[in-house]
């Protein structure tokens, strides 16, 4: 063992750390997370006016490149951050789920704006009332549409989250149960052929509608 490294290790365990110049001690997990958080590749799922703000965020004035997330790709295979910007209608939701499943781990999702997060003012039969009912979401951006600064803040917060959570070997993805479930869901079934009795959200909606109808009569 080189003498410098031996001295460093002794100093580390005794609390008196003396490192040579230009040497940083860290965990490999933290290093991997640091790399990931500073090179996010966004997948723009832009369906409405939020998409315009998303473009403005990537453009020169707000310059998302300062945070390492300027490389927008339209192939989910090349991306690790899905930004859902705008309302998602029920005809579009299976597409959204398919694209989310096509992205490789590790991956994250930002729900940008009121419509993607809650349906916004579009409380109608066709509009999904929040994408987080059907795919996992890491960050919500309020606003209608949000300013680019708000999206940048969400990316900064997401970077903090990535720094806290990641591992270099991806062992959080490698549990047997997870692999099993992943194989089970090879194909997403067509939406209306799913058994409604097993959908808790739908059951709650139907019960609420029945209560409202009973209250009126």
């Amino acid at each position: 063992m080189p003498i410098e490294l031996k001295k460093a290790r002794e100093g580390f365990s005794s609390g008196k750390l003396e490192l040579p110049e230009n040497v940083v001690v860290s965990r490999l997990d933290a290093l991997a997370s640091w790399c990931r958080k500073n090179s996010l590749w966004p997948m723009p799922f832009a369906t409405a006016c939020c998409g315009i703000e998303l473009m403005a965020t990537g453009a020169s004035k707000h310059d998302l490149a300062r945070f390492g997330a300027e490389v927008f790709r339209f192939s989910p295979r090349q991306c690790d951050l899905m930004i859902v910007a705008g309302r998602v209608v029920m005809k579009m939701l299976p597409v959204l789920q398919r694209i989310w499943q096509q992205m490789h781990e590790p991956k994250w999702c930002i729900s940008m704006g009121a419509c993607a997060s809650t349906g916004g003012v579009f409380d109608t039969y066709a509009v999904v009332q929040g994408i987080d009912r059907f795919i996992p979401v890491d960050m919500y951006v309020p606003g209608c549409p949000p300013r680019p600064e708000q999206l940048i803040q969400a990316i900064i917060d997401l970077q903090d989250k990535i720094q806290r959570e990641g591992t270099i070997t991806g062992r959080e993805f490698n549990t047997p149960g997870r692999q099993l479930r992943k194989r089970a869901l090879v194909e997403i079934a067509s939406p209306l052929s799913i058994d409604a009795a097993r959908n808790p959200v739908l059951q709650r909606e139907l019960a609420a509608a029945a209560d409202a109808a009973a209250g009126r009569t």
């Binding site: 005809k91 109608t124 996992p136 992943k182 959200v201």
Partner: protein
């Protein structure tokens, strides 16, 4: 000075001569006529021959719970003449249980998607349409959402999807 197209009284008179009396009304200079369903294709074809060569729109109104309405659905054909700028609105009323009207695709190709949309949203059958599929809603959808008896927030279709969790993806 806005351009004012010539009045269409002569066409209405010829129409009455050919098909019998026609119910018509004028609102702010725009003429509307009502055509019985069984003669709609014939009448629209005749109007096309008299210069109304452009089909601007085909749409529908649901008169459920509308005061003094005699029929449930009222189809709207907006016609225009590209030569004289004259315009004419043709109404055709149809009723449940199977609202049906003849397709005008043989007259105007443009009616193809317009009639598909009306079928999708209101459930009006267009007899003779070459390809009467839904235009806007997903194929699995069963309702016709612009009918007045369809609830605004749907019947749960918008939430009838599998939930993908972190473990699934």
């Amino acid at each position: 000075m806005p351009f004012t197209p010539p009045p269409i009284d002569d066409i209405l008179a010829a129409l009455a001569e050919r098909f019998g009396p026609v119910e018509s009304s004028v609102f702010r200079g725009q003429t509307r006529i009502v055509v019985p369903e069984e003669r709609s294709l014939e009448t629209l074809g005749w109007l096309k021959g008299r210069g109304f060569d452009l089909l601007v729109d085909v749409t529908c109104v649901d008169y459920l719970e509308y005061p003094d309405a005699k029929h449930r659905y009222g189809l709207v054909y907006l016609l225009a003449s590209t030569a004289t700028n004259q315009r004419l609105t043709v109404r055709v009323f149809v009723d449940d249980p199977r609202p049906t009207v003849r397709s005008v695709v043989p007259l105007w190709e443009a009616a193809n998607w317009l009639e598909r949309e009306v079928w999708d949203m209101f459930g009006i059958h267009f007899e003779g349409h070459p390809d009467l599929r839904r235009l806007l809603m997903p194929e699995e959808f069963t309702a016709h959402p612009l009918r007045k008896d369809y609830p605004l927030q749907g019947r749960g279709e918008r939430h009838n999807f599998p939930v993908i969790t972190r473990d699934h993806s």
